[in-house]
Every structure is written in C-alpha cells, then in structure tokens.
C-alpha cells in the first residue's frame, strides 16, 4: 500500500512537471498527431519514431562522418518548412551548404541560419592543443548562446544545433546543466530542438536519440566493372565514355537505430535508409 501510494504520488508529480510521457501508464501518443510530433517527412523514419521528433523535447542525431546525419537533419528541416513552420539552424563551424538544403527541399526563406566562425587555418594546420581547442571552445560557446537566444524567442518549429565536426573532447566539456537549460526553454512548447553530433550528447527524458552507424554501403553503379574504380575508363586520363556511370554515389545506405525511445520502445534492428544523390 505504501509502495502504491508512493508510486501514485510520483506519477502525479511527473504529470505536473509534464514528464508523464515516460510513464508506462501514460496514454499512447497518436502517431499521426503533427501537433505533438514533428515528422521528418521520411516514412520509414517516422514509423520508427512513432510520428517524428517529439515537440517540446531535446533530441539528437548522432553518428560518425558520412553516416547520413546531415542528410537526415536537412530532411527534417525541409519537412518542417513545408508545414509552414519557421526553422533555425545554428551552424557552429559554418559548414552548411545551401545547395544541399535546396535539394533536400528546404524553403530557404523560412530558414534562419546562424553561422559560427570558421576556425583559422593556422590553428588547425599547426595544432596547438590550447589554441586549437580554444578556438573550438569559443565556437561552441557562441553556438550554445545562440541556441539559447533562438529558443527564448520561441515559435520556431525546429531548432537544430550542428556540432557534428566538434572534437569530442570539447563537446564533453559542456556542462549537463546546459542541456537542461535548453530543454527548459522548449518544455511545453511546439519547438523541436535537435542536436547533431558524433556521439550522444544529451537529450531530454522524452526526447529521442537517432544513432546512425557507419556501415553505409556505397553502391556502385551497375555499369562499373568489378575491380575497376568507378567512372574511369581504360586509357582515358579523365573520364569514361559510358553515360550511365554518372552522378555521385548512386545510393548512400544509412543504418539508423532509435535509442531509448518513449515508452521503453527500442528498435532492435537497424532501419536501413537510402539517400540518393
């Protein structure tokens, strides 16, 4: 009796703090409720996420380089802009490509782009730990402040913080309270805050972690002979003559896992996506 009373009291407290989504007794969220979730526009991903990124929560998309993190993020931003939402991208190291965004379908007039300072070449070519990491530290501090300002302004559909190229040692120095403060800014709102990184950084209790693994298979076009590099014909210093061996890697295979989803649901098998050129 005492245990059940304590549990009931705990559930009441969680509901009062709007953390009731973590309860096993909470009502299932409708997967098609666009007001509680921000769909990514990718049916397979939205099916894994039960509708999309949960609103008012801090989620993250993590994975190594060339695992499709940026592609997935741009797809989510594009879906948001197509829903007449205003989105923001805090680009800590100024690596955003406008052409890729346009290709992904982002309505650029609804995207607020906050560009961080690209680090000077000297601090990278001649790495001095203090100077180089000091530069990264300054960039990440500014990016976090900018994210806080954007979240305080409110009414953004999706706010993305791109820390994908930040060294792990710098990201690990971010206090956990920083992520709690960011979550508090969007708690109860319609804003989705997505972090983009290499390793898991932080997420709110009802947020999601999308882990992209670097087991991508670079599909070779059909016409490329086995054992021969793509796009190069014999005797040609430049290119080939076959018109079908064109374009970038035809398919970028992405393995996606949803970690620690709501309600204890966790995808056991990776979901394979295909990113086309």
């Amino acid at each position: 009796m005492a245990a059940s009373a304590a549990r009931a009291h705990l559930e009441t407290v969680l509901r009062a703090r709007k953390l009731d989504r973590t309860l096993t007794t909470s009502l299932p969220v409708s997967p098609h409720d666009a007001w509680s979730h921000a769909p990514t526009g990718l049916p397979l991903v939205d099916a894994q996420l039960d509708g999309g990124f949960p609103r008012g929560q801090l989620s993250e998309v993590v994975g190594p380089r060339s695992s499709g993190r940026t592609s997935l993020l741009l797809a989510a931003l594009a879906a948001a802009t197509m829903r007449d939402e205003v989105v923001a991208l805090i680009d800590a190291l100024d690596v955003f490509d406008a052409e890729s965004a346009k290709t992904a379908g982002i309505l650029l007039d609804r995207l607020l782009w906050v560009r961080g300072q690209r680090l000077a070449d000297s601090s990278i070519i001649r790495p001095s730990l203090t100077r180089e990491y000091g530069g990264f530290q300054q960039a990440i501090d500014r990016a976090l402040k900018a994210t806080g300002l954007v979240l305080e302004a409110g009414n953004f559909g999706v706010v993305a913080l791109d820390l994908a190229d930040m060294p792990e040692i710098v990201v690990r120095r971010i206090p956990f309270t920083t992520w709690m403060r960011l979550h508090r800014l969007i708690e109860g709102s319609q804003t989705v805050c997505v972090l983009l990184g290499t390793d898991s950084m932080a997420r709110s209790s009802a947020g999601l972690t999308l882990a992209l693994s670097n087991t991508s298979v670079w599909a070779r076009p059909r016409s490329a002979p086995a054992g021969r590099p793509l796009g190069i014909g014999p005797g040609s210093p430049f290119g080939h003559s076959h018109p079908t061996t064109t374009g970038l890697f035809a398919d970028l295979r992405i393995d996606l896992r949803v970690i620690r989803a709501r309600g204890g649901k966790e995808s056991s098998a990776p979901c394979r996506l295909t990113a086309r050129a």
Partner: protein, 565 residues
Amino acid sequence: MFACLYAPPPPITADHDPPIEPGDALMSIARDFSPRIEAHGSRLVTLDVSGLDRLLGPPRVVGEELRRTAADRRLGVHVAVSASRTTAALIAQGRAGLTIVAPGNEAQALAPLPLTLLIEGSVVSAVPPALDAAALVTTLKRWGLRTLGDFAALPAGPLSARLGAAGAVWQRVARGEDAGPLVPSMPDERFEASLDLEWPIDGLEPLSFVLGRLLDPVCARLEQRDRGAAALHVRLRLVTRETHERSLQWPAPIRDPRALRTLALLDLESHPAPAGVDRIAVAIDPTPSRVLQFSLLARARPSPERLTTLIARLSALMGENRVGGVGLLDSHRPGAFDMTAFTASVERSPNTSATRRSTAGGTISRGDATRALVDPGVVTSIARPSETPDPPAVTETDSAGLRQALRRFRRPIPARVSVEQGRPVRVATDRRGLAGGRVEICVGPWRTSGDWWRLPGTQQPLHSARAEGAAGGAHGRIDQAGAVPETDGAAWASDTTGGFGVRGSAMAAVRPSSAPAVRAERAVGRPTDFAWNRDEWDVALSDGVAYRLSCDRDLDRWFIDGIID
C-alpha cells in the same frame, strides 16, 4: 463661443509676385489663445474661445486682443466672434475689421452678406458633396436670390424637393447653423528626448540607464498616439565635441521601451563611442502601429518585433552578416550563396514543389545538375542553376526520400593526393581529425570553371565578346548528344548566366590564368574568390568517410571541399 481669423489676400501687384501665405503665422496666433483650433486652408482659422471670457473679458475684448496680436505680428486680419463657428467664418470673410455677433442673431448678421460667400468660404466641411457650392449659387441666382438672407428665407420643404438634402444643409449654413463640431488640428508631434549629463559617462552600463530614462516617456507618448517606432536615432555628443550618431531601422514598428533600449545597446556595443559622452539625444520616427490578427488555425511564428530583437542579438554575438536567411546565387560557382534578410515569410515560395522524382540512371544529378563528367576532348558546359529541378516528393514507393547532403568547408582544406592513372588513390591532410586514407571508390572528375572573365575584385568583365570579334557571341552549350557546337577559338561570350563551353583546342587561349592579375593572385596558392578552374571528385576513403575533392588545374593543387554526410 468661437472666433475666426481671416487674412484676406493682398491686392495683385504690378510685378505679379505670388502672395505670401500666412498659414503658419495665423496658426501661431490662434494657438496663443486656444489649443482647439481648426485650419481651413492657409488664410482662415477657427478657434474655440470658450472660457477666455474669464481670462480676458467679454467677446469684444477677446476680439480686440486677437486683432492687436495679429497687428503686432504685422498681419492684417478680419476677426469675427460668434456662438456659431459657421457664422464667425462667414462674417470674417464677408466683413472687414472686428465683428461681434450676439447669440441668437446669427441669421440676422448673415442676412445681408452675398451668396458668393458660400463658394469662397471653406468652413462647411460637413456638407455632402452631392451639391457643389458653385452650382448651388448659380441656381439661386437664377431664381433671383442675391443674399444669404434671401436663401435662408426660402421654405425648407420645397427647397429640399428641388435641391435635395444637400440644399437643406446649405440653407442651414446660410442661417449660421453649424453642420458639425470643430475638429482640432493637431500639430506634428516630435518624439524626441535629450539629456545633458553632469559628468561624462563611458561604457554601456551607465548608457543603458540613461537610454531607459529617455525612452520610457517617449514610448509612453507613442502608445498614447497609437504610433510605433520605425527608426531610432541615437545622437551622442562626446567630450571631444564630436558627435557619434547611430540610426536603427526595423521592418516592423516597435514601441516597447525595453526592446528599443536593447536594440540600441546592441548596436552601440558593435559600434562603440570613441570617447566619453556628455549629452544623449534620442529621436524616433513614428509610424502608425499595426493591427495584426493571427490565425487561430495556423502555427504560431515569431513576431516581427521579437524576430528583430533576436537577429540583433545574434548579430552582436556571431558578427555582422553571420545571421539571416540564405539565398542561392545565379552563379555556376559551387556553393555560391548570399545572406539575405530573414523575415520569417509565410508566403509559399513559387519555386518549391512537393514532388520528388527518383534519380534516373544516366542523369547527371547531385540535385542541381551543375556538374558534368568530362568527356575526352570535349569540355561540357554547365547547366544553368535556374535549370535546377525541383526536389522530388516523398512517395510511398520511395524507400526513404533522403537526399545526400554536403558539409562544405568555407575555405577548402589543402590535401596531398596521390594520383595514379589520372585518378586519386590516396588522400592525406594536416587537418586534425581528417587523417585521410586510401581511396576505395572515386567518381569523377567533373570539370568546372568560371568567372575568369572578371577583373579581380570587380564585376567588370576581363574582355567582352565584341572585343574578341565574336559574331553575335558564341555560347558554348551542351546539346543533347553531349557535344559542344563548333566555335571560333576567340569567339566566345562572357555570358554570366548561360552555359559556357569551348573546344579543347581553344582552351589554351582562354585559360583563366592568362590574366596577369589572376595569375598573381593564384600564384600564392589560394583559391580565388572570383575565378575557378578545377576538377571535382567524390571519393570514399578506407576510413568510411566520403569527401568531395577538387583539383585546381591552374595551381595543380588538391583541396577537400567538404564531407558528404
């Protein structure tokens, strides 16, 4: 009780000089006696003198004071005082000197005045325009009437039957009855404030306190007048007797004093005063405030005021031109973009489409079709950016609908690339975190070049097609077969928007590095901002990372342009 001042026009002189309009002088005289004044043109002013009898005396004394004041300011005026402002205005225009009309005698005072006063007098603002005064007077004269008394004596019923409701209104005017209340003319209000400091201040914190003190009452007056600030001008007088001025403008009016102070401080933080400040003045350009009705059905968006503040704060944090919207440029330069003003537009862009199509085999695609594979002996042209297809729609049959994205380095990273048989086989860099490795897969090259026809640092073309003797300009464009039409080696167009192609034999004559300035700039090994000539490769290394490489053909150096992620 109303008084009316009328400044008759001076007689026409022989030199035909235009008469001086006494508008401001009349208004000034009237404001000295009453705050409720109404101007009817530049020569007639009506003022409400109710209550002046306790200050000055009976109406005749008030009228004498008005005449004396006008005479002191060298202005000859006719003055009329009456209980009806219509009577006062008509009598002031019809009789010279000072005329006092006792209450109840308005019709009797107006009776002998001519009908033409209805045309000249502009005091009847409430008369409906259905019946023009000139047409009315013409009709009345045709009936044999000459004075206002004759018109006022007509029976109202038959008059209305003949002239309509407008005729009845005019008859009331002829009797001296007011058609409407006096509408005071409000002076142009200036929203300014200034403060002389007892000792100079230096720094933003004390400046914040003073700005708040100045902006609070100004914003309160803005709110009373239902105005917003379209622009804020901050003028700081320095101890060096110089003036440091900053002007801020916003797309939407703001009247929140805290928001104005924050925006001013953010701007002053970016553009600080070079010395101490001993006087601060602020001025606001008012504009009517907006009434916004947000939809209850649409998703909320940041308000313009909050967005303005946010962008100002972000700009102060990240730097100028680092925050805003992004737009693609009409250029063949890879990754060309421009920062634009971000307004959170809700209008759907006409160039967007919800449709997507799958990539077909054989189609040159990276979503933008701006690159073409190099065919030996033929340099293909580059498709126009305007020909970029719309992004495809996500269909149920599409497995993911994802499009590959590039993380572009603003300044490409130098790389050491080992080349075998014309293709990269190993990539290495000095960049921490980009170790490189053996090339597993490579695709390319795509040859691209452009802007070599521009002078360094300008938009001026290096040479024009006409100077080269081009016959109508030769545009090298790729045809469907992938071949470039025959062109004269020297005949080609400096077309910045179209395709550009040239036969291989003519390439030596048109190499971008032929321009001395270009060679000098590129000799230092830096990719220039105005010309490029390169081969691009997409490679996947043994570490599992895909890069976009580019080889500067002039410098014969390799760079990493970005990471495909």
